[in-house]
Point group: C2
Chain length 422, copies 2
């Protein structure tokens, strides 16, 4: 593979990622749109590269326990653990099924998922519904309160939001993100503006189709939940980023990274020109700010599919657009600027639609080039939430992390072998 040919392949991969137009079109039950979840008796999707029960970290195990109870496969933590340990639950990465989930990312057959369609290239992507902050399944909590909220989201909120999305004619998530980046979001840890834009687009449809005073009360609760959750749009955003990144995957000879994901134990990447293979190594623990009563000693290693945002040119890559985020993830506003400037060093393109006002509306750095990461020794930056290392607790903070350099080195070796370099 000559330099020129690689550049051409990367040009195509990044052009497709940027041209992809992800529209949130509806909400469906996971098993309806993800055949693998309907095909097995007990199967769960999870964040990150493949992993089996015995190597799973606390928060992923916690989410598995919660999902098993949610699905009625187990009545207690002990029953759920026994099932999992006996190999009675199949585990598969979300990424193998066009899906992504924040943190543990556990997605079970009867959970509602957002459906995003890339209008430009026709591929689809899915993500579950965001539960808000604190003690939630995606951070490994699974008590009755967590499961009651999941049931309310699934049974009451999802049908109302689904109707509103459809009544709105779908929601253009790329346009929403473009606007949110001009309002201080970076699209990963800070989705405050995007979530307000999301709620604004849905609110008239949610409010306007109440059939009675009682129905209006149910809709009030949905609007409160969406409005109070500054991450409500994170999951549609992640599905949109997955649809964009997938559009750039599978380009012969391309060295562009099309997935970065963590399962709480390993950090894995996939590369456009390297097929379905994962390159993975142990995940680092984020540096960050901890909620009251918690410290770095409580932190689980990096977890979640939300690094799909960085893969698509958002998150830490677009952090210069979001100086206020440092009060959440640590650092100074100038660090936010530095983060984006550094990411231009390892990316192949600048985004046409995602622009950064403080950098004179320069396009965000998009399309991580494996070659540059290894040559320069600069790994991608990631903004992330931090989960407690034990099952059943939840979020303990937020911070910054990078993937291990080895996974890029592994991928470059695989690339050299596959394309017969050197």
């Amino acid at each position: 593979m000559k330099q020129l040919r690689i550049d051409e392949a990367n040009q195509e991969a990044t052009r497709r990622m940027i041209d992809a137009r992800p529209m949130l079109s509806t909400i469906a039950t996971a098993a309806e749109v993800i055949p693998a979840l309907a095909a097995a008796e007990r199967r769960l999707l999870h964040a990150g590269p493949p992993i089996e029960w015995d190597r799973m970290s606390g928060p992923l195990r916690g989410a598995v326990i919660g999902a098993a109870i949610f699905e009625g496969w187990a009545k207690s933590e002990a029953e759920a653990e026994k099932l999992a340990a006996a190999g009675e639950i199949d585990f598969d990465p979300c990424h193998h099924h066009g899906a992504v989930g924040p943190m543990a990312g556990v997605t079970s057959p009867s959970m509602a998922v957002y459906v995003v369609e890339n209008e430009t290239h026709g591929n689809r992507a899915f993500s579950n519904l965001n539960e808000g902050y604190g003690k939630v399944l995606r951070y490994g909590a699974y008590d009755a309160e967590v499961l009651d909220k999941l049931r309310w989201m699934n049974d009451e909120m999802a049908p109302i939001v689904k109707s509103a999305i459809e009544a709105a004619g779908g929601i253009d998530i790329r346009a929403l993100l473009a606007e949110a980046l001009h309002m201080g979001d970076e699209g990963h840890n800070r989705n405050k503006a995007g979530s307000l834009l999301f709620a604004k687009l849905l609110a008239p449809h949610i409010a306007g189709s109440a059939a009675s005073a009682a129905d209006a009360g149910a809709r009030r609760k949905v609007l409160e939940f969406l409005g109070d959750n500054a991450l409500s749009v994170l999951n549609p955003v992640m599905a949109a980023c997955k649809a964009m990144a997938d559009a750039g995957h599978g380009i012969e000879g391309s060295t562009i990274v099309t997935a970065m994901a963590r399962n709480g134990t390993d950090f894995g990447i996939r590369v456009s020109g390297l097929g379905a293979d994962w390159f993975a190594a142990p995940a680092a623990t984020p540096d960050g700010l901890y909620f009251s009563g918690f410290s770095a000693a409580d932190a689980n290693p990096d977890i979640g599919d939300s690094t799909i945002t960085e893969t698509a040119g958002l998150g830490a890559f677009a952090m210069a657009a979001a100086p206020a985020i440092v009060s959440f993830v640590s650092g100074k506003p100038s660090d936010a600027l530095e983060a984006t400037l550094e990411m231009y060093e390892i990316t192949f393109a600048e985004h046409d639609h995602f622009t950064i006002p403080p950098l004179d509306f320069r396009g965000s750095p998009t399309g991580i080039d494996l070659r540059r990461v290894v040559e320069l020794g600069i790994t991608p930056r990631v903004n992330t939430g931090i989960a407690h290392r034990e099952a059943g607790i939840g979020q303990v903070g937020a911070g910054l992390v990078r993937p291990p350099i080895e996974i890029f080195e592994q991928a470059l070796v695989a690339y050299a072998e596959r394309y017969d370099l050197g």
Copy 2:
């Protein structure tokens, strides 16, 4: 008056402005809360310093015509003009009655107004409802479409929004602004985030109290209108700024500017230690960007009470928080940074609550000091909309402007005389 005594007075004036906590508490009919509007047969409030009909500019005349028809005092443009020219309508500045209105600022007795109460010092302020962009009364348009929208706002929207504000227990506008400044707003020309926060706080109450499917339909329309109007919170913000600025007014010996306002002909200021007097001179015409089909030749001189935002430390003073605004008012993101940095030169304090992320969360420059303006020859910067110079047309663009330096010189002379300086 010794330097030290002036500094003490300015310290008190700015401390009061910053400590003021403006809560949006309800909506009322203007004549209910502004006695002067109930006391006369035909009286209108307008933006800026005092002015009579014969000196009024096109957009202010247009708004007067529209308000006279809205109130039923006239059936046509010709009838309204005749009434006004015959002295049959009293005109009084909004500012003389605790009120502020954007652009023409025309407020008539039966119009709905937001009521803001400063919980710290007990004073109140008022502002009419925002009509959205384009052909609207505040920009001097007055045709049937404009008046129909005003009637819908008054009769259908205002009661629903009033109930929602009250059900929410009032809205803390200072807190809303603090959050919006971290989301790329400057609080004057860019109130995109603030308007979304406003809609978010009201939406559950608006949606949740629908009594029937038909009522839900009315509420859908209100949520669409609030959501589509990125300036919907401007008027509550202006009333909040008026409440804050008034809290700093009347401090013996203070050289802090407590009002800046334009009526489309003159730009006037008031000063904390100089009582009710206005210092006014002809307003300049803004430099800016024009909507398609319009140019600088169409522009009216600067108009509106919205400079109360700059008076309170927002608008152009907080522009560093809003780099994306340059696509609307002209310039580059670095100009936005420059604007705020320059305003520190002429202000006495830095705001405790309004902080600017790109400047390491420095407080916004607050409390224009007359002395510094004259000593340094630096006049306040203002972001503004631009009205067509003829009655009946509407907004033609947005841009940047400064008040004439003479009004600060006049005020300093008056200060020297009053306080027996030199």
